[in-house]
Symmetry: D3
Subunit: 235 residues, 6 copies
């Protein structure tokens, strides 16, 4: 089974980070390839960043199906281009945000999503609302660090993650933490150990969800929401 993980931003360092963290996760017989587009923003922190990142990401998705991959994992928590990607191809496309939120909903009473900068709070909240999971949301808390800062300074990241998780538990009633950025992968061991909270790390969840879909022969339905786009002139 061959699974491709697409980091939709152009930060090679973040792709390397994902590659390292995911290496030990995938099952036997699974080949995992991690890539990123070569143009677009180096991190995704606004609707504008998403808009620029999506077209080159969709090119990679289409290429992945052509190259015989069995599934695609979009490794950005806001799932940019997820719907368009599912329209374009027939192999399963997993959004790490969507799959992590649905799993988190099964593991406790209320989850807190940790995001990067304060401006991302509204967008994350809508992400969750669209999936019907607001009744499981304790809070969205910003770490007040940019995506690139998260990636560059792992010790400060761990301190901030632990602090916000502690506040989520005591102030917001959360019992589950969702790491709301692919750049946070691997940074939360202390949260479980020190706080006894369950921590959902979206990138590994995305990869194992993709593996589950391939093993069960499941993929998104092409009958409705994800029908192939009508052919047309694109100038």
């Amino acid at each position: 089974m061959r699974i491709i993980v697409i980091n939709p931003n152009t930060s090679e360092s973040m792709t390397d980070h994902l590659r390292r963290e995911l290496a030990s996760i995938s099952g036997s017989g699974v080949e995992l390839v991690c890539v990123n587009p070569d143009h677009g923003p180096v991190s995704i922190e606004s609707a504008f960043d998403e808009a620029l990142a999506i077209p080159p990401t969709l090119d990679l998705v289409r290429g992945a199906e052509r190259d015989g991959f069995d599934a695609v994992v979009l490794a950005c928590f806001s799932d940019p281009g997820l719907e368009a990607a599912r329209e374009l191809v027939s192999i399963p496309v997993v959004g790490i945000g969507e799959s992590a939120l649905h799993l988190a909903a099964q593991l406790g009473r209320r989850f807190t999503v940790l995001t990067t900068i304060p401006q991302r709070v509204p967008c994350m909240t809508e992400h969750i609302a669209r999936r019907g999971l607001l009744n499981r949301l304790a809070s969205v808390r910003p770490l007040e660090m940019s995506v690139l800062e998260l990636d560059a300074d792992s010790s400060r990241t761990k301190i901030r993650v632990l602090a916000e998780a502690r506040a989520a538990a005591s102030e917001d009633g959360a019992d589950v933490i969702v790491l709301g950025c692919a750049g946070l992968t691997g940074s939360a061991a202390e949260v479980e150990r020190e706080l006894g909270m369950t921590v959902v790390d979206p990138s590994p969840v995305g990869v194992l969800t993709a593996e589950t879909l391939v093993r069960l022969g499941l993929r998104h339905s092409k009958r409705g929401l994800y029908a192939r786009p009508p052919a047309k002139l694109i100038k």
Copy 2:
């Protein structure tokens, strides 16, 4: 006052259509300019089409602010790129879908949105849900015509619009019709005359909403959801 209407697809014919229909609408002292990007899809009928149309549309939005326009109207009912556009500029950006839906909610009990092809029904429904207006929705009904067919064959379009409006009233309990495609502008006089339903035509509503915002000195808040995107490297 100068208002720019941006048709986010690359169909000049549809931009001409909008220009003609909107000419008589705008107030005295309002200069109205209608444009479209020169690359991207000729019509928008999928999430994939939206993904490709958004970046060139955002270029036009940014140019409009630079050129001193007082407001922008995005003239596609699915409001592609609306959030990113508001992040990018400080002048008001009106989505014809959003403004038409909020006005329709004030004009009756339940509205039916007429869309183009059946695949657009889920996306339109989510559009309405995100705005909190599902309690005012009677139905989304596809005309079973593509955007370009609507634009090319106005007599068949009128027949289909009337037929679906009639069904919306009798089967779905609608008392208001929303024309869910910029290409439908001007095609619904019969619906009001023959059925006594109120018909909301989004492009004119968008233009007058923009005019209202400019006259009142109102624009979207830059404190939260629409804050300017963080500066960063874009490869």
Copy 3:
């Protein structure tokens, strides 16, 4: 075009205030008339006040249609009698509360409504819920001043508005302020200047919404919710 603004309470001073503030707003070719009933409560701060204010207000609405006005604006934020008014006449009837809430939802992430006395908070919240806009509500905050105090002491009013807007931004996450009383018209320039929040002033929004409806030939549908009441004996 002739638009009538009906202040449903019997305070002439508040009607004068509205007349002054709205004079500069309306478009060229628009004649604006501001009136109030001659019996009923001098201000509206309870369901009981609304109950007494509605019948004389409806008389004015009916008179306005008979006198050839093109549209009616009900200038009280709680929109007393809006539904009954739309049943009675065929010209558009705009509620300043309803139209301001729908516009505010288009201008930011979450709005805070400033109301008068604490007892009005539940009623305002329900007002917003009925329109489906709770997902856009940050908070309803009372100024702890009665309607007549607002009208009489504009400097204290401005101080209170600024203080509550500041708290709404910092404590409730609001980026938009809605002035939830017609008596607040014109009192919020500092909020925009000092806090960078968008402020929606309902009375001007109501007038321009009425103007938009008349210019587009739109009015509420008489097929459903707003059908003319059955004729009957009224003792």
Copy 4:
């Protein structure tokens, strides 16, 4: 214990009907008085009718407290003036609509409300939505008879009630019927006998709810929504 039942319309015949039907319901030691205002509409079938009926009804409510009644029952299914009545007095005020809907929610999976004319469907639906009970609503079905026709022609009423109840069960999945008009009191024995559905008759439910409140010493809280209206000039 003394309970007053106020029919808010001016139809003496409907008040007589209520008096007869309720006579056998009330507990030992309960004195039941049925009245109606002497001015206002003879039936309530629109927001306009409600607007005219409320002020004289509120006079009766205030008088009831002054005269030492222990509780008030407002005997119109749309509960006109309920909120204002609770503001005015400290004795319990029961709306037959509200109390019947909350009881119906405890008796089955989904209820259907039978109303009078088709125009009342939206208003009834909102009535239910405001109470949070839409998840228990199967449908609102009009009998296509006016209030006065219901009151005048009891045999045709029974036929129509049975027909719509049958359709509610087979087409809408209802297992409970709520008689959505005080004029329907006593007309539904066949529905239970022939269809095995549970039928909730709001006027008796309202009376026994009032009796329950008095026996338990319960009344609406005056701390929030139902605080006494501020004193003020009423011209």
Copy 5:
């Protein structure tokens, strides 16, 4: 009329407490019997406790119908086994939680439910959500006392109830208190006297609701949700 009150836990002391408190409540001509199962947990504070308490409680419910009781009241606020009980019998089965929540919704703007230990907060919240009444919920507050502590130490219980009610009013905007445990019956006179809040005591409400249903000949519908379970082998 004969009504049986079933305390689903095995604490005789709590059953005695209920018997004493309810003795004065029931109407003339009503025989009230209070019982509890002889095996199962001594108090109900988890889903596990509920699971063990339900089968012996259902035996008592079935026995009650066989013994000619006219109605059953399940006297535990979380209504364990309510749905199964209604499937099993045709006499009305009242859950004190369900009936108290629906009555509380009619008595104010927002209620606070007082529960026992913090772990019960999520379950109580879901209880309320399932009934559609979240829009009436101010908060669920734990007394931080176990069920048996409540029953054993009535003076400490009264102090805690008053303290949490006070906090509910000032911090959560509650105007109504619901005593969320049958063991709290009779412990809240001070809350009304000192705070002017309305206090809903579920056990008496459950008994009078049962009496109302019997007097009106009402019971849950057997056509849908509460149909008799299919006969089958039970090993």
Copy 6:
């Protein structure tokens, strides 16, 4: 890794069926054990059946943790006892209903759940509502066959599944089918082949979700909803 699949009913034949269908699904290095309790109902088709099945199922869950299993899968679509099971143990407990619903929500626009007898429709609908997924539900359709009939007559089952899936697509707008009974495992190949719909078979999804949780070291949080029950006397 050792995973135990607990069929909560006492039908050995259904346990055998599950064992056969799941044998090929689990990953290398996974030992899968399928069991059922030896007392309780032979199938689960009512709240009453659930009530009787839960206590012996919980015994098996507790035993599984003691015997060193890494995860538990509850193999009944209505997830009886799921919450109590998670309270009792610290190893992950997966409900096949819950995990299948959350996966189905990621694979299309709207899913239809196929259930057994019509009486189960309300309970299934509530199951979905509690998880926030009503916005993804097209319909719940009964096969009009009991659980044991499904298990005994696989050819008739396949015909019924195909017929209802076809109706779900054409009448209800479904693009995904969820097999709402463990007894349906393996019966839906034709639905995908003939209708092009995505079919979610809950038992395999439950097993692979358990495997995912174990591989990622994830389990439900014990801080909130699933805290261990307070120790107490159980008579």
